[in-house]
């Protein structure tokens, strides 16, 4: 079954009075549980495609179907709910909320789902343990190393049990060793949860974890 189906999707950005195409007629299908790696040079359209799959942006043309639902037609409120329940995000710069502790950062997406405090606590502690940060649950992001922050981001992405994980350059701000550790963690989590994982990266380490590599060039899929 297709987890993600992209039909003839284009995305244009307005640069002053000029329309700049970022994606041109992309067609793509990704099966459930697959690990997909989007590669390509800067400006090739990797992040734009991830944003469209991640319901963070809407296409100029075409349709994006996630788990059979056409997300291009959803309202902003429905998209927020959809992102919270279906998607998990891991960002290049970790994007943790600085005023919240490790525990609170991981707990945050569950609060939106109105899950009871007792269940929230159990789930958050499970994921803190899974990413190896049990001793750091009360610390704040600025008290953690880059690798630790990315582990928190991974736990936050997975705590809602999403069916799709979107990772935009997850190792870009990490050294080689830490990057590998983070990739090992994502890979093992993927095996446990069966979630579809889509990466956008320049990093050759990431490509070691999957054979499904999609290369983008000038807004088009150049190699699959």
């Amino acid at each position: 079954m297709n987890s993600i189906l992209i039909n003839n999707v284009s995305k244009n950005y307005a640069l002053g009075k000029v329309e700049v195409p970022a994606l041109k007629n992309i067609n793509l299908s990704i099966k459930k549980g697959e690990i997909i790696c989007l590669m390509g040079p800067s400006g090739s359209g990797k992040s734009t495609l991830l944003n469209l799959i991640g319901a963070l942006d809407t296409p100029s043309n075409g349709e994006v179907h996630i788990n059979g639902e056409n997300i291009s037609s959803l309202t902003d409120r429905a998209l927020s709910k959809f992102r919270n329940k279906t998607l998990g995000f891991i960002f290049q710069s970790f994007n943790l909320i600085p005023v919240l502790s490790v525990f609170e950062n991981i707990e945050y997406p569950l609060l939106i789902q109105d899950i009871f405090a007792k269940e929230r606590k159990v789930r958050v502690n499970d994921y803190i343990e899974a990413v190896g940060l049990s001793q750091y649950s009360t610390r704040y992001p600025d008290e953690l190393s880059g690798g630790q922050r990315q582990r928190v981001a991974i736990a936050r992405a997975l705590v809602t049990h999403p069916s799709i994980i979107i990772a935009d350059e997850p190792t870009a701000n990490l050294d080689h060793k830490t990057g590998k550790e983070v990739m090992d963690l994502i890979s093992s989590m993927n095996k446990k949860s069966g979630a579809t994982v889509i990466f956008a990266t320049h990093d050759p380490i990431v490509s070691d974890y999957t054979k499904n590599i999609i290369c983008l060039k000038d807004g088009k899929i150049s190699e699959n």
């Binding site: 944003n51 963070l56 942006d57 927020s80 919270n84 909320i97 939106i112 936050r156």
Partner: protein
């Protein structure tokens, strides 16, 4: 959680929070002190006017008495005064019923003659203070004596103003001949001993007081032309007036403030002045909060984007940012009130604010009223929320993909 994030974000940029709050704190504290200062001044002014002769309520036979009564007392005599007084005495809110009559007369001193407006009050109901600070409750107390004493009711006595005493060249203990005109046109004269001279400024040239018991020496009436009523509580004035109007539909009954034009003018002027200061403070708060919140949203674009990415709705982002501005306002208001109170304690501990009036120096103590404090803080709280709304709206409407690029 959004409240927690809002509060933590306020504490995150301490310097900016302090500077924003400082504008509110200084504004509220200054307004509170200023309001209390004016309130104390007006309280003194109000009490002075009430004690000067207006009391809390004035009762006369006719509405025209209040403009013409002094010049033609015989036209405004209250009939059936005994039954009226009995009825008034049965009202539990009334603490003192003071009959009086006023008329104009000629006073002849050693070399000069002047016209005086004479007010006759019962000798035990009028009391001139001996010092400026002495307070008198429930009695007529027009001013304070600079020489002599209050009425003894043993002889025909008169208390005159300092300026009249100077013009007539009379001192306490000396005799003053007073002449009045009876309704038929006949002259009536009587000698009065000057028992006291009060501090009166310009009004001290015109007004003189005799005991109500001696009125028959100068005018042909035993009835009063008005009653000055003192109440247990000034707050009961309007309520008591309604009761009295039902009991005495034939009489003209007025609260003190309807007869105190100058007081109302001064009060109106101060109120307008406070409104202007309040408006300036509100404008400053709006701009400061708007600026702070715009900066806050701009600096946290990626954070807002992340929250939206993990599923936070626009409504929640709007609520979070609005709460942040509101909490900032709440903190500023609370601290402003606290600072205002502390400042007033400090001012009082140092002796109060020096103030001069009519040649006398006072030190006004500041007693902030919680109602005034809330009145000063509420608009600030409201505008701190209102000033946040544009930034909160903008922050909640940002494109998620765009904010994540920051």
């Amino acid at each position: 959680m959004i409240l927690k994030i809002a509060v933590k974000n306020i504490l995150r940029n301490k310097r900016r929070t302090i500077l924003t709050s400082l504008a509110m704190i200084m504004g509220i504290a200054s307004l509170l002190i200023f309001t209390s200062f004016i309130s104390q001044q007006m309280k003194g002014f109000r009490e002075g006017i009430i004690r000067d002769g207006l009391g809390h309520i004035q009762i006369a036979s006719d509405i025209n008495f209040f403009s013409k009564g002094r010049f033609d007392p015989s036209a405004f005599i209250i009939k059936n005064h005994e039954s009226i007084e009995t009825k008034l005495e049965s009202n539990h809110e009334i603490t003192n019923i003071i009959p009086s009559i006023g008329f104009s007369a000629m006073a002849a001193g050693k070399n000069k003659t002047i016209t005086l407006l004479i007010k006759a009050y019962p000798s035990d109901k009028i009391h001139f203070s001996k010092t400026h600070d002495e307070t008198v409750n429930g009695e007529i107390s027009p001013s304070f004596l600079i020489s002599g004493n209050n009425f003894t009711a043993e002889t025909d006595e008169i208390i005159i103003g300092d300026l009249a005493a100077k013009i007539l060249d009379v001192k306490c203990g000396e005799i003053l001949t007073v002449m009045s005109i009876l309704p038929g046109g006949a002259l009536n004269a009587s000698d009065f001993t000057v028992c006291g001279i009060y501090k009166g400024g310009d009004s001290g040239k015109i007004y003189a007081y005799i005991p109500y018991e001696s009125r028959g020496k100068l005018i042909d009436s035993q009835n009063p032309s008005s009653y000055t009523i003192f109440l247990a509580s000034e707050n009961k004035t309007d309520q008591t007036i309604q009761t009295l109007k039902k009991s005495f539909p034939e009489l003209s009954i007025k609260p003190w403030h309807e007869l105190a034009d100058f007081y109302m003018q001064v009060n109106g002027m101060y109120s307008a002045f406070l409104k202007v200061i309040s408006a300036i403070m509100i404008l400053v708060t709006v701009f400061v909060v708007m600026n702070t919140m715009s900066m806050s949203v701009f600096e946290r674009m990626r954070e807002i984007g992340t929250m939206r990415a993990v599923g936070t709705s626009r409504k929640r982002i709007f609520a979070m940012l609005s709460l942040e501005g509101f909490s900032l306002g709440l903190f500023g208001c609370f601290t402003g009130i606290l600072f205002g109170y502390l400042l007033s304690f400090a001012i009082n501990a140092l002796g109060g604010i020096p103030f001069s009036y009519d040649g006398f120096s006072y030190h006004i103590q500041i007693f902030p009223d919680l109602y005034d404090a809330i009145k000063a803080a509420l608009p600030v709280l409201f505008v701190s929320l209102a000033g946040t709304l544009p930034a909160a709206y903008k922050g909640s409407r940002l494109s998620v993909a765009e904010t994540l690029r920051y």
